[in-house]
């Protein structure tokens, strides 16, 4: 990263030695290290003394380097940082003075390695173009990344809930439920891939230099691992499988299912597809909540019970809110890249304090729905075990409050938030299974 010369010299004072490099008369770079003094006000560094023959000729262009690592025995090293500055050599005896005219540097405590590497992606593509190569990864890993397979828990949880409630109503049918699960996963994969395509076309993912494994898209297009046409084929294929399975299920279990399937497809289309692009309008959360809450849960229930149920709608509300919060927290590290391309998510629109406060309110609301449901007789008392997941919400709240502007420190927080949805959802399902077992 470019540094102002005075800033570079000020930073140099935190290092233990300097390395002076120049191009010698044979055309080879020559380097020699020594102690130094620095005067940031004058952007001046004096290095030496050096033995006369190890001293650069006066007037020779120099690169002066300050480098630091901290060895970690048995692991490697960390605390990487360095400063390079350039200027002409002034030689006085064995001492070399350089007034910096330009400088660069990197300090991983300021610019985390992942972001530093992400900024190099355009350079990587230039290099691949120059050597006629392409980045490689096995087909399995490309599919894993492109589909964002681990996020399918967002689909599995509500459809499992729908199946569990059908079981509590003595209507569970594993075969039809499994087909519904496959259809739901296919819609979800289609949505994930479509979202990547639209974020690639809009430039949102390219503008995001702080992606994490949980946010910033799959990056398969930005890294050149797959082409847009391959992603489009995957997207169309996934939606095609979902629609085909939807018709099979509707024909076999009731045409009312078409309404649920249509709602799911419409929500997944309007999420990121122009001109709707609801995620860019700050409406991604309600769309996500509806799609991965009541719609999926009703689908999982209807294929078994062949009817709708308001209980399913109510029971799915806590996980609907929690999955919307997964999107919401994931948008926090993405907000600069999103803002750059006009994708005005809630963390783009709101100040940090409001984003954090709204998270707390939403988590409390999600968990409050369970005892309210029990008190009103909608839910079994066994579903109160869902409250055991609440500490994960507290951990996420504290994490986003304390690390709001640190994308990589947010990674374990994002993970905890995803865990909150998964654990709460599975506990809710378990509550229904226990209620059914002890009924």
């Amino acid at each position: 990263m470019a540094l102002a010369p005075a800033e570079a010299v000020a930073r140099a004072r935190t290092y233990r030695h300097a390395i002076v490099s120049w191009v010698d008369d044979d055309g080879y770079p020559m380097s020699v290290a020594g102690s130094f003094t620095a005067e940031p006000d004058r952007a001046l560094v004096e290095i030496g003394p050096f033995e006369e023959a190890s001293t650069p000729p006066p007037g020779r262009e120099l690169c002066v380097t300050f480098s630091h690592i901290r060895p970690q025995p048995g692991v490697g090293y960390d605390e990487r940082r360095y400063v390079n500055l350039w200027g002409s050599a002034e030689v006085d005896g064995g001492r070399v003075r350089v007034t910096a005219t330009r400088a660069t540097g990197w300090d991983e405590s300021e610019l985390p390695f992942m972001e530093y590497a992400e900024r190099g992606v355009p350079k990587a593509h230039e290099y691949f173009d120059a050597v006629g190569g392409r980045p490689r990864l096995s087909a399995w890993w490309k599919l894993f990344l492109a589909t964002r397979l681990p996020f399918l828990t967002a689909t599995i949880v509500p459809i499992a809930l729908g199946g569990a409630i059908a079981g509590a109503h003595d209507r569970f049918d594993f075969g039809w439920w499994l087909l519904a699960l496959l259809a739901g996963c296919a819609v979800h994969i289609g949505l994930n891939v479509a979202n990547d395509l639209f974020d690639d076309l809009s430039g949102a993912d390219a503008a995001n230099t702080t992606p994490t494994p949980f946010s910033g898209g799959s990056r398969v297009l930005q890294y050149g691992l797959v082409s847009r046409s391959q992603m489009l084929a995957l997207c169309v294929g996934a939606y095609g499988v979902a629609i085909a399975l939807g018709f099979v299920l509707a024909a076999a279990r009731g045409w009312g299912l078409l309404w649920i399937g249509a709602a799911g497809l419409v929500l997944s289309f309007v999420y990121s597809m122009p001109p709707f692009n609801l995620v860019a309008r700050g409406l991604g959360e309600p769309v996500t909540a509806a799609g991965f809450g009541p719609v999926m849960a009703l689908g999982g229930y209807f294929v078994c019970a062949q009817q709708f149920s308001w209980e399913v709608v109510y029971a799915s509300l806590p996980i609907a809110i929690l999955i919307a919060l997964v999107l919401y927290v994931n948008e926090i590290p993405d907000r600069r890249g999103d803002a750059a391309v006009g994708k005005r998510t809630l963390p783009v629109r709101w100040p940090a304090g409001r984003v954090v406060a709204a998270y707390a309110v939403a988590v409390v609301a999600a968990f409050a729905l369970v005892p309210i449901g029990v008190a009103t007789g909608i839910l079994s008392a066994w579903t109160l075990i869902t409250l055991l997941a609440a500490p994960l919400g507290l951990r996420t709240f504290r994490g986003i409050r304390d690390h709001y502007d640190e994308p990589y420190a947010l990674m374990p927080i994002i993970q905890a938030n995803i865990g909150l949805h998964l654990v709460a959802g599975l506990l809710l399902v378990t509550g229904y299974l226990l209620a059914n077992s002890f009924a």
Binding site: I19, S21, V23, P29, I69, G76, E126, Y127, R136
Partner: protein, 176 residues
């Protein structure tokens, strides 16, 4: 081939052609960081801290395609140097400093897997590389890497790191 001295330096020390003297090799063997200096398109030096590896014949460094500018410089001008200077990053006993000048070649015919031939040398210095490699799907471009293969031509050695004293110079004529 015999060793020769360079004007201005002390008497050259005998060295086996193509092989760095043991005291310089000993520094390379423990160095967690070395400063690779290349010459840019304007003829100016530019230095990159990198982990140096040594197989007894060549000094190797690797570079992810994400940080490929140095590779372009080397392809345009293969003359490079590697300096071992940091008492912390080069934990040798007794401490010494060295600079190796040589000719570099960028090996990029298999960016995905070619560099893995250096894993045994790399692992010895940075055992965590194996853990990173298991997660290569997460940072795939970091593991698309070129090898920088450096054939040493000359080595300068400052005992105790005293660069205010005359270095021992090894002219490795015919190296490689």
């Amino acid at each position: 081939m015999s060793t020769t001295s360079s004007a201005g330096y002390g008497e050259p020390m005998p060295a086996q052609p193509g092989v760095l003297p043991p005291e310089v090799a000993a520094l390379l063997d423990v160095a967690l960081v070395g400063e690779l200096t290349v010459v840019d398109h304007d003829g100016r030096p530019i230095t990159y801290p990198l982990i140096p590896l040594y197989d007894g014949r060549h000094v190797f460094m690797t570079s992810a395609v994400l940080f490929s500018r140095k590779l372009r410089h080397i392809k345009a001008n293969p003359k490079v140097s590697v300096a071992l200077t940091d008492p912390v990053g080069v934990p040798a006993e007794p401490f010494a400093r060295a600079t190796i000048q040589g000719d570099a070649r960028v090996v990029d015919d298999d960016l995905h897997a070619g560099w893995e031939a250096l894993l045994p040398l790399w692992r010895a210095k940075e055992p965590a590389i194996d853990a990173f490699l298991k997660k290569r799907f997460g940072i795939p471009l970091f593991f698309e890497r070129s090898i920088i293969e450096i054939t040493p031509r000359r080595a300068l050695y400052w005992a105790e790191g005293r660069t205010d004293e005359t270095p021992v110079v090894y002219e490795l004529v015919g190296a490689g």
